[in-house]
C-alpha cells in the first residue's frame, strides 16, 4: 500500500502543476480574442472578470481544464451511451477496431518473430523491411489502405483494424525476437544433450522464456493500436469513433469537443495498457516468478 502512495503522490503533484500551467496558458492564449470581443461590444471589464471570460469562451483557442472536464462528463455520463453525442459510443467504436487490430498485430508479430528466429533467410531478409515499414508515416498509408480496401468491397471494422495491425505488429516482432533468443547457451546445450527436437526446444524453452518480453511489447503495441485506429478513422468519412469525433469537432472549431475526445482517447489508452500490464503480472505469477 505504501508503494502505491509513493507513486500516487508524485503523479498527483505533477498533475496539479500541469493544471496550473494549463490555466495560465488558457488565459494568455484566449486573451487576444476576448479583448477583441470586448472592444467590439464596447465593454471594459476588470481584471478578474476578464480572466473569468477568457476561461468561459464557447470556442476558445485553448479551453480551460474545467471546460474540458464538464464537456467530458456530460458527453460521457449525461447522454445515452449509444447516442452519437456520447463519447462512450465513439470510444467503443474505436476500441473495437483497436482490439481487433491489436489481436491481428500480436498474432502477426509472434508469427514473424518465430520465423525470424528459426529461419536464417527470414532473419536476413525480413528485418530490414520490417524496420523500413515503420519509417513510413502512418498518416500517408492510412487513407490508401482505406481507399484500396473500399475499392475491393472491404469496409467498416477491418480496414481500420489493419492500420492498427500495421502499427502494433512491430513492437511485438522486436520483443518476441529478443525473447525467443533470450535462453542462454547453457539452456540450449541442456536441450541438445536430451536430443530435443526443434519444436520441443521451442515449446519448452524459447516460448516460455519469451513470455515476459511478449507482455512488455504488447503494452507498447496496444497503445500503438489505439493510435492506428484513431488515424484510421480520420479518412473514413468521419462516421463514428474518437478519430471521427476529433475530425468533425475540428471542422466546427469545437475546441472543447476536441480536447474531451482527446481525454477519452487517453483514458482508453491508459486502461488498455493497464489491462495488458495486469494480465502480464498474472501470467508472470502463474509462471512462478519471484514476487517483486
Amino acid at each position: 500500500m505504501d508503494s502505491t502512495r509513493d507513486k500516487v503522490v508524485p503523479v498527483l503533484t505533477i498533475l496539479g502543476g500541469l493544471v496550473i500551467v494549463w490555466y495560465v496558458f488558457a488565459v494568455i492564449l484566449n486573451t487576444p480574442f476576448q479583448r477583441d470581443l470586448d472592444r467590439r461590444a464596447g465593454e471594459d471589464p476588470g481584471t478578474i472578470e476578464f480572466i473569468g471570460k477568457t476561461l468561459a469562451q464557447p470556442k476558445p483557442i485553448l479551453p480551460a481544464p474545467h471546460q474540458v472536464a464538464i464537456n467530458f462528463f456530460q458527453s460521457t455520463f449525461m447522454v445515452k451511451p449509444w447516442s452519437v453525442r456520447s463519447l462512450v459510443y465513439h470510444a467503443w467504436v474505436t476500441l473495437s477496431s483497436t482490439l481487433l487490430g491489436f489481436a491481428f498485430g500480436t498474432a502477426l508479430g509472434i508469427l514473424i518473430a518465430v520465423g525470424i528466429v528459426h529461419v536464417t533467410t527470414l532473419d536476413r531478409s525480413l528485418m530490414p523491411w520490417i524496420i523500413a515499414s515503420q519509417t513510413i508515416p502512418i498518416l500517408a498509408i492510412a487513407p490508401m489502405v482505406i481507399v484500396v480496401l473500399a475499392a475491393v468491397g472491404i469496409t467498416g471494422l477491418i480496414p481500420k483494424a489493419l492500420i492498427s495491425t500495421y502499427l502494433s505488429f512491430f513492437p511485438v516482432v522486436v520483443g518476441m525476437v529478443k525473447g525467443l533468443r533470450s535462453p542462454e547457451i547453457i539452456n540450449l546445450d541442456l536441450m541438445h544433450t536430451y536430443n530435443a527436437s526443434r519444436s520441443q526446444i521451442f515449446w519448452k524453452l524459447r516460448a516460455p522464456a519469451a513470455v515476459p518480453f511478449l507482455f512488455t511489447s504488447m503494452k507498447v503495441a496496444v497503445a500503438a493500436s489505439l493510435v492506428g485506429a484513431i488515424v484510421g478513422e480520420l479518412p473514413t468519412g468521419a462516421v463514428a469513433g474518437i478519430g471521427a469525433k476529433l475530425l468533425s469537432a475540428s471542422y466546427y472549431s469545437a475546441t472543447i469537443d476536441i480536447w474531451s475526445a482527446l481525454v477519452a482517447g487517453s483514458v482508453v489508452a491508459a486502461l488498455l495498457v493497464m489491462i495488458v500490464g495486469i494480465a502480464g503480472r498474472l501470467v508472470d505469477r502463474a509462471m512462478g516468478a519471484r514476487p517483486a
Binding site: 542462454e184 547453457i186 539452456n187 546445450d189 541442456l190 536441450m191 541438445h192 544433450t193 536430451y194 536430443n195 530435443a196 520441443q200 519448452k204 524453452l205 516460455p208 522464456a209 513470455v211 509462471m287 512462478g288 516468478a289 519471484r290
Partner: protein
Amino acid sequence: MTSDSANVVSAEKLGLTFQTNDGPVQALTDVDLSIRKGEFVSFIGPSGCGKTTFLRVIADLEKPTTGSIYVNGMTPSQARRKRAYGYVFQAPALFPWRTIERNVALPLEIMGISGADQKARIARTLDLVNLAGFEKKYPWQLSGGMQQRASIARALAFDADLLLMDEPFGALDEIVRDHLNKQLLELWARTDKTICFVTHSIPEAVYLSTRIVVMSPRPGRVTDVIESTLPKERPLHIRDTPEFLEIAHRVREGLHAGHSYED
C-alpha cells in the same frame, strides 16, 4: 566401430582445434583415455587445459577435429541420440518457470516417458539428492546448493549410466561443497554409475575419484593419470590421512610439471 565395448568412453589420439580470431587454439591434443564402467574419473587442470572441452566432446557438444572417440561403443552423436549420458553444467540451468519437480520432469517429457513413470522417477531422484519435500518449489526459492542438487536429479532422472559433471560445485562455498561431495559419493555408491567430473580443486578431485586425469594447457593435453588407492568408503576425514595427502601431492606435482615450461 566396436572399440572395446567394456569401456564407457574410449578416446584415441583425440584432438580439437578451435578457429578463433587470434588464430587456431589447440584445446585438445593427442588425448588417449579409456574410462571403464563404474569408474569415478576426475579431470583437473588450470583453465584452458581442455578438461571441459573433453567433457563436451563426450557429450557431442563439441566435435573433435582429429582422432577418434567412442561412447558406449558408439560415436558421441549416436550416444547422445540414445540418451547415453546425463550432463550437469557449472550453473544449475533450471528453468525458472518450472517447479523443481517439473524441472526434473523436463528430460522425461522430451523423451516421451509416461506420466505415471515420470512421477515415480521424480520421487526417486529427488529422494536420491535429498530434495524430497521441495517438489512444488520454484528454483528461486532454493539455495544455490539445493538448485545444483536439483540439476543433478534432473540428470539422473532418465537413468543414463554415464554422468558428466562440469565443475558442478565450483560456484558454491566450501561447506556446501563438502556436503555435496559426500552426497555425490553416496549416490555413486548406490547407483553404480560411471561419473566424469571436471574440477579445479585438488581436494575435491582426490576425495571423489577412483582415477584422476591431470591436464595442462597450451596445447590442452593429459599430463598424468593417477589411480586412487583410497578405499571406496570415504568419510570426510579421510582427507587428513597420509594416503590422501600423498595422492594430492602427486596431483599437485602433475599440475606443476604441466606448467613448468611456460613460466
